[in-house]
Amino acid sequence: MSEAIIAKYPLFQRLDDVCTIADYLLTQGANDLEEVTDALISMCMTYPEHVVETGLLMNVEVLAASLKPKNRSHVHAHFMAIQKHLHDITDQMEAGKPLVAHFPSMTPEPFIAMDLAYMCAEQLSLYLVGALTDGVEEILDASEADGIPGHSCGFQRAPFKAMETGQLPMPDMFMCTTAPCNSSNMLYQMMMQRYDIPMFVCDSPYYWNDRSFDYFKEEYKRCLQGISELTGHTIDVDVLRERVEMSNRQLQYMYELQQLRRLKPNPDPGMHRAMDLAAWLMAGSNEECITYQKMCYDEAKARADKGLGVIPEGMKEIRTLHTYGWTAHFLSFPDWLEDELGSTELECGLSIYPGELVGLVDTTSLDTMLDGLAWRSFNAVMHRTVMTFSDLHIQDMVSVATEYDAEVALFAGNNTCKWGWTYPKMLTEALQDNLGIPCLTWETDLMDKRFRSPEDVKEMCREFFNTVRMSEA
């Protein structure tokens, strides 16, 4: 790892600190928040000031949830994976490898096989939103003060502003798809225009069908071709195969978990759903990713074998489908739902990734691998669900609802998400009116708790689940 480079970029440093602290707390056996405080104090002795500083900024609820037995080991495994990833990035940067910033709808194996430095800036800022009490709110305000509309998505506004202010490295090139939204397309254009950064655009047609995929697939290959022409780094097929085999193993566990979540009681804690996506975004990056996903699976499997669930003894399970997705600034929400209301998370619209359909990447040849990776991207979160008519997402939600036997559905729509806010009525018709699954819809901001506070969301959900139980009685 390159301490120099990590220290150079404040958000790298913060993220590295978060990982260090997570490692310390979750292994040094802090079991509750009091012990966390003691642990942090004892860290003052051995760790640099900025680590402890970060510790004081951390989101207490997320910490508390992470310390719970059902969460702690896979949370720990996850932070070990992201820290390893972060260190790999900085090593590559130090070695002078060009840095490609890629959009959250593709996995990085080809960049590794091209021996490049790579990061998904959206993913990195997401961790800070989740782990720190005030997330990246300061950065979001700064971008709005610049004149970027507040209704454009913070998912890009935050990391791009961080790049502009040197809190994240400015990449040597971008690679993105033109999914999901006008907001991301425009913000990528802004970066391209202001800093004259080459951008490799994988155009996403507005259909989910074969013709569309054939086009998208060629776009995907063209982008990788363009990157290797620009950098002179070509794909090493053996490395690619090795990495794709790694990511296949990782995704296999993800798919197995989908099967386990169909069981009653649901043996899989919901809190790692956002982390699954984060792990997907660095699939093939390191063994730690696989360890993380395997751990999630093993834990859930062990529970399933004993017929155990993830909600407190004696509480009745309410099987919940999250039709929009997780809320980055409130990562402990699913855990709160489980322990307070007995609501378990079946799937969520922002990390659903239908395994039966997407399958694994065929590693026979370079072509089969690139086709497979393109197919993955084509079905990635915020691609499959966005780049076609609403019907597909509704359909996905309905089949999950029926196959997993959902009892209620929650739609926590991101306020800046235009496509998301054309769904609720159709979802309510499909789930509530046709299947008798009560739906609760509310506005939130994925990246910014100030739009709607966790307390407020808790109040709404308490009432909603009380009402559902009342109706059952």
């Binding site: 309510t428 009560p438 739906c439 819809t441 709607r452 009432e463 009380n466 009342m470």
Partner: protein, 254 residues
């Protein structure tokens, strides 16, 4: 006898239910102090009916302020709205409650179980507060609005649904010499349309019960009636007491 208390942001409504009949009711200002409001209700009950707390089987609070009151039974707003509606109209399938801060619409199955509900999500556009805000620059009392609007001589369209913007829009309309009657009529239309949109988000069916302070407003009610093509039953006798009644009947959260 059970006392149901609905602690709203603006006012607190209380009813004394004597086996499912209203034996007594009162309405006082909440003044952002739920504890005090409940105390005030109890002393009013004492003064007017010489009924002590000890004589009461239960005190059940609901509404915005319920979490701030100690040692009383609690009832969720949705639950009390539903119970209140079923008390008023046993065959109710849809309930609309237009409160001060929010409007809530609940869809029920034939056995009175909740199928789903929707509220105007943190937006006063379809709620009483909207009207209060607008009434200030127009120097008009909230109760008089329907009366004022009835004198409108032309249909006026307000472009904004945001209460605060609507206010500045109203100011410029006044500046343009528009009549208060026409503006008020336009405002009530805007509020009604926001409520209509809300109602259409759930699967609305007869019988349809309307309650809450705004249900007193004939202009709004008429617009709802025209747009929703279902027969509306106004919660009676006084529509803002629905939650207090419902809370008393629900007897608190299980």
């Amino acid at each position: 006898m059970i006392l149901g208390v609905d602690i709203g942001t603006a006012s607190t409504k209380a009813v004394l239910m004597d086996d499912s009949a209203i034996a007594w009711q009162c309405k006082i200002a909440t003044n952002a102090n739920p504890e005090a409001a409940v105390a005030a209700v109890l002393s009013a009950l004492q003064a007017e009916r010489t009924v002590d707390r000890a004589d009461l089987e239960k005190v059940v609070v609901t509404g915005w302020g319920q979490n701030e009151v100690a040692d009383v039974a609690k009832c969720d707003t949705v639950a009390s709205v539903v119970r209140g509606a079923l008390w008023n109209t046993p065959s109710a399938r849809t309930v609309l409650c237009m409160g001060a801060q929010e409007s809530l619409v609940v869809s029920l199955d034939p056995r009175g179980r909740v199928l789903g509900y929707a509220r105007n999500d943190r937006c006063a556009a379809g709620a009483g507060r909207f009207l209060e805000i607008i009434c200030e620059p127009l120097e008009c009392s909230v109760d008089a609005t329907a009366e004022v609007a009835s004198k409108a001589d032309r249909k006026l369209q307000l472009s904004t649904q945001c209460a605060v913007f609507a206010e500045s829009e109203v100011v410029s309309l006044v500046n343009d010499g528009e009549s208060v009657a026409n503006i008020m009529d336009g405002i009530l239309g805007t509020i009604a349309r926001n409520v209509i949109t809300l109602c259409k988000k759930v699967n609305k069916q007869e019988d349809f019960v309307v309650a809450g302070g705004l249900a007193r407003n004939e202009r709004i009610l008429r617009t709802l009636q025209d747009a929703l093509d279902v027969r509306l039953h106004r919660f009676g006798p006084e529509p803002e007491y629905i939650c207090a009644v419902g809370a008393a009947l629900a007897g608190g959260r299980s």
